[in-house]
Amino acid sequence: MNCGDFSELIHGYLDKELDLGRGLEMEEHLKNCPACSGAYEEQQALQSLLHKGALRFEAPGSLRRRVRASLREASQVEATRSVWTGPWYRLWAPIGVIALVLILALVYVRPSAEDPVSGQIVAAQHQSLQAGRLTEVASSDQYVVKSWFYRKLGFSAPAVDLAAHEFPLLGGRADSIDNHPVAVVVYHYQQHPVSLFVWPLKGAKSSPEKGLRRQGNNLVHWTQSGLNCWAVSDVPQANLRKFVRLVQDLGYSSDYLPKGTNQFYRY
């Protein structure tokens, strides 16, 4: 290693974040290299300046009061709503069962109505691939993609660069499924496009992911935080599931709902 390799490691060393081997290597190098030890000493001085400088801002008391007041308000909204999910719901249960039976009957009576949404999603994916128009905004910067969605659709979608997990972010486009405006976040996995179709669905309960296969594509569907999510790709189901888990863990979908409507969605 030469000094160039150490210029970043100096910081890991300063913060005590290097593993033992690298730490020892660094220590050895600092003993023998006046340039690096000078730089290290200077960074130490800078760090102690930052630590003793009283640079931290403290939350004013008025903010604490304001926040507590708005939390109380929010929790009253929740409490009112829980009347409907509390003991009262028992009244609704029989009605729900009857409705469910009716719906199931309808589905079975009309065999042609087989889940039109997944068909539309596969069709939309094919169309954009054929037209060579996978993305309207091409960027691996999640904030560029997220804000593009906000501007275009009024809501956003889990765009996170997952390059570290082999799913780099390519960008996004707007589409339409089942008459809903839909955000499509486009990722790559080993040169195969992986698209994530997302739209807000009022009152949607979170549901676990469900996989299916259609016309040579794998799909995974779930709802989370009031968002309806469909992942589609020609990669194997297992890889697509891995992708979905990454999005669920890192995507923080709670932030993607339309402004001002968040409170009506439940995690």
């Binding site: 910081h11 000078g38 001085a45 604490r64 926040v67 939390l71 402004k259």
Partner: protein, 179 residues
């Protein structure tokens, strides 16, 4: 109702103690008291709504992740990017040759200068320095809050400190000239 009270109590216990950290990050990012207060209020409301998704562990890192998201949403909503990403040629190509390491000189800088130097850093550098030096977060925590790999934390921190050092020395020279 009982659930609701329990949720409030747990929230008060796990999240509310980190209000200063939330405000500190928001204040350094947004630059103004009023804006920082709005961002923190928005973030705490979000945190309360999605508190069901909090799996225990470090409430501070969880809250700061939400504060950071709330800040970037606020930034994009009001399209205030311009004022945050002013391009400074000196900053991007610091002339490191001319200022040799000088720990003794750095030690003499006063708080006001340090404060100004941090505020002039690009957003990416400012947030990483605040998280590391003022909030004393580990690389792993910062990686989670900022959604980046740990290796990126170290390289961003290296860049941020280099920029800060350069700014600080430049400002000290300026003051000396004026004096």
């Amino acid at each position: 109702m009982v659930d609701e009270n329990e949720k409030q109590e747990r929230f008060e216990e796990c999240i509310m103690p980190h209000m200063d950290s939330a405000y500190n990050l928001a204040r350094w990012l947004a630059g103004k008291d009023q804006d920082a207060e709005d961002i923190v209020q928005d973030a705490l409301l979000r945190a309360f709504k999605f508190f069901g998704g909090f799996r225990g562990g470090d409430g501070r890192a969880w809250l700061l992740h939400i504060v950071r998201n709330a800040f970037y949403d606020w930034l994009h909503q009001y399209r205030r990017e311009e004022q945050f990403y002013e391009f400074d040629e000196n900053l991007h190509h610091p002339d490191t040759q001319s200022d040799a390491p000088d720990a003794a000189l750095i030690r003499k800088a006063d708080t006001r200068l340090v404060r100004e130097a941090i505020q002039r850093l690009p957003l990416e550098s400012r947030e990483i320095l605040v998280m590391r030096e003022l909030e004393d977060l580990s690389y792993r925590e910062i990686a989670e809050i900022a959604n980046v790999p740990i290796g990126t934390v170290m390289s961003r921190l290296a860049r941020a400190r280099e920029q800060l050092r350069h700014h600080l020395l430049a400002e000290m020279q300026q003051e000396k000239k004026l004096a």
